[in-house]
Amino acid sequence: MKVVIASGKGGTGKTTVAVNLAWFLANCGRKVQYIDCDVEEPNGNFFISAHFSERIPAFVMLPAVDQQKCTSCGECSSKCRFNAIVRLPGNTMIFPELCHGCGLCLLVCPTKAISEDEREIGIIERGMGWGGISFVHGVLNVGEPMPNPLIRKVKEQGLADHIQIIDAPPGTSCSFVETISDADLVILVTEPTPFGLHDLKISVEVARARGRSICVVINKDNGIFRPLEKFLEERQLTITARLPENRKVAEVYSEGNILLEELPDYRAHFSSIAAEVFRQSENLMHSPMGVLP
C-alpha cells in the first residue's frame, strides 16, 4: 500500500508526520518502508538513521549525434518540444540540461544519426533503519533541473508487501504530481493559517483531479481557523488528526529525534492516522483490483 505524505509548502511538518507514522506502524508490527521522494532535499534519513547497504546511480537517456551521419536536415530540432537540440550546419548540438530523454529525436532522424547515450542525474540509496524500517531515498545531483525521472526510479524501489510511507517533495509542481500518481492514500499536512489554506486548496485540486483518496492532518493546531474548517467542510474532507502546536515539537525535530518517543501524548493522534491507513487498505482489499497490505 502506498501512502503519500504531502504539503503545499515546506515547513508544515510533512516529514514529522511521515517519520512518526512510519514509527507508529512499525511499532504496530507492520512491515514499513520509508520512501523519501523529496530528492532535492532528502532529510528523512536524519530521523530513520538507515545504514545504506546499496547505492544505485540513476540515469536518463541522453541522445548523442554522429556528426558524420547527420545531414543537418533539422528534423530533430524542429520536433523537440524542449528546445534541447539545435541543428547548425555540420554541428548538431544537444543541451543535456534541457533534454527530457523522451527519445523523439531518435525516432524522427531520417539518417539514424542519433543514438542512445545516458547521463547520471542522481543516486538512489537503500538500507535498513531502526525498528526494521526499510529505507530508500534519491539524491538529485546539484544543479540537475529534472527531478521527475529520479522520483520515478525511487518509487520503483517500493516493496509491494510493505506499507510504503512516501515523503513527497514540497509544493504542488509536477514532482508532486509524479509522486502521488499511484498513491492509495494522500495525507495532506497543513497549518491553520491563510498560507497553509492557500496551498492546501491547490494540493486538494491536484490530488482530486488525479482521483486520489485524501485525508487531512492539521499541524500546529492552536484553536479554530474558520476559513480552513469551512473549506474542509465544503469539500467533505476528513480531518484525520489535529496535532497541537507545541514549541517542543520543533526542538525534537531539530535534534533528529522521534516525536512519539519524546512526547508520548502525540501517540493518540498517530493512532487515528494509522487507523485511516488501515481503513484504506481494507478498502483496497475489497476492491476488485485489490492490492495488499
Binding site: S77, F82, N83, A84, V86, R87, L88, P89, N91, M93, F95, E97, L98, G143, P145
Partner: protein
C-alpha cells in the same frame, strides 16, 4: 557580411530589443547588398525553455555573421559561438544607432554570456 540586431520593429528607426532569446524579432542587415531582412522570433516568446537556443538557431539560419543585442544567455552564446557568429553587446536606442556604432568599431564583443540562463 550580415548583421542581426534584436528589435521589436521592422525598420532601421525601430527600437532595439535588449533581450536575445525573447526578442520580438531580428533585423538582418546585409552590408554588401544593403538589403534589410526582417526575421520573426514570435514563436519563441512563449517557449517554456530554450528560447535563446532556438533564437540562435534562427539567426544562424538567416546567415548572420554578427549579432548585436543587449544580453545573451550562456546556452544561446554557445550555439552562436558554434555557428561562428560574433556577439556584440550594445545599449543603443535604435537599430540604426547600433549599426552605426558597430561600423565605427565602438562595440565590444561579448566574450562570454552576460546573463545567467534560466537553469544555471
Amino acid at each position: 557580411m550580415k548583421i542581426a540586431v534584436t528589435t521589436s520593429g521592422d525598420s532601421l528607426a525601430a527600437p532595439m530589443d535588449s533581450r536575445f532569446g525573447r526578442a520580438a524579432g531580428f533585423l538582418v542587415y546585409d552590408t554588401d547588398t544593403k538589403v534589410l531582412q526582417v526575421v520573426d522570433n514570435a514563436q519563441n516568446l512563449n517557449s517554456a525553455q530554450g528560447a535563446g537556443i532556438q533564437a540562435a538557431q534562427t539567426v544562424a539560419e538567416a546567415g548572420a555573421n554578427v549579432v548585436i543585442t543587449g544580453h545573451c544567455g550562456p546556452k544561446a552564446f554557445r550555439v552562436l559561438q558554434a555557428a561562428g557568429i560574433t556577439v556584440y553587446n550594445c545599449e543603443a536606442a535604435t537599430v540604426q544607432e547600433a549599426l552605426g556604432l558597430f561600423g565605427e568599431g565602438k562595440l565590444l564583443t561579448a566574450s562570454d554570456a552576460d546573463v545567467e540562463g534560466h537553469w544555471s
